[in-house]
Symmetry: C2
């Protein structure tokens, strides 16, 4: 669902967010340059820049023009908390509604590992 016709810059944004939360990009470390990530992902540098843009606005990455972008202090925890809130408040209720409609019991899916 999240990997089909979704805009590239949103996919990249999710990838980056996941990497920061998981500590793949650690705080204080430099993120891959726009051009480097573009080449690696087969995307356009501008598209990558657009994905980074959102994190800049939220102060989760700090930009040093001419140098690169760095993961801000506390970015990982902030991101995780923010996404956690959003999931519980906005996504889960809808998911729950759909599951009820489709006759899927939440307990069945949450029971395993």
């Amino acid at each position: 669902m999240s990997n089909q016709s979704k805009p590239v810059y949103l996919k990249l944004r999710d990838m980056i967010a996941a990497a920061i939360i998981d500590g793949q990009y650690r705080e204080g470390e430099m993120l891959p340059s726009v051009r480097a990530l573009a080449a690696e992902q087969g995307a356009n540098p501008l598209t990558v820049a657009k994905a980074y843009q959102q994190f800049q606005n939220d102060g989760l990455v700090e930009v040093q023009r001419g140098v690169g972008m760095y993961v801000a202090k506390g970015a990982s925890a902030t991101l995780r908390e923010r996404e956690r809130e959003a999931f519980l408040k906005e996504e889960w209720p809808e998911i729950r509604t759909r599951m009820d409609r489709l006759g899927i019991a939440p307990a069945d899916l949450l029971a395993d590992a």
Copy 2:
């Protein structure tokens, strides 16, 4: 999440599908006309027609030109089963991955209703 910047014709398609599954539109019953639903939802008749189109192709609604569109026999069960499969195979794994990343325990979700 499913109700924001999504194309109108897809929102309508989901609404109709939900109504059929829930039995709000019962099998053999006539669906709201293209023009009627358009007026009710403040959309364009062509956009509504586009939403209905998908169900025609799948044989879930039967068209009687000049009369109206009727919910096909077994449409409700077919729809529910189809969406159920899609949910379990495509959506749930991703949801589960996100939950793990965000540190959401199953107990957090089952607490309420």
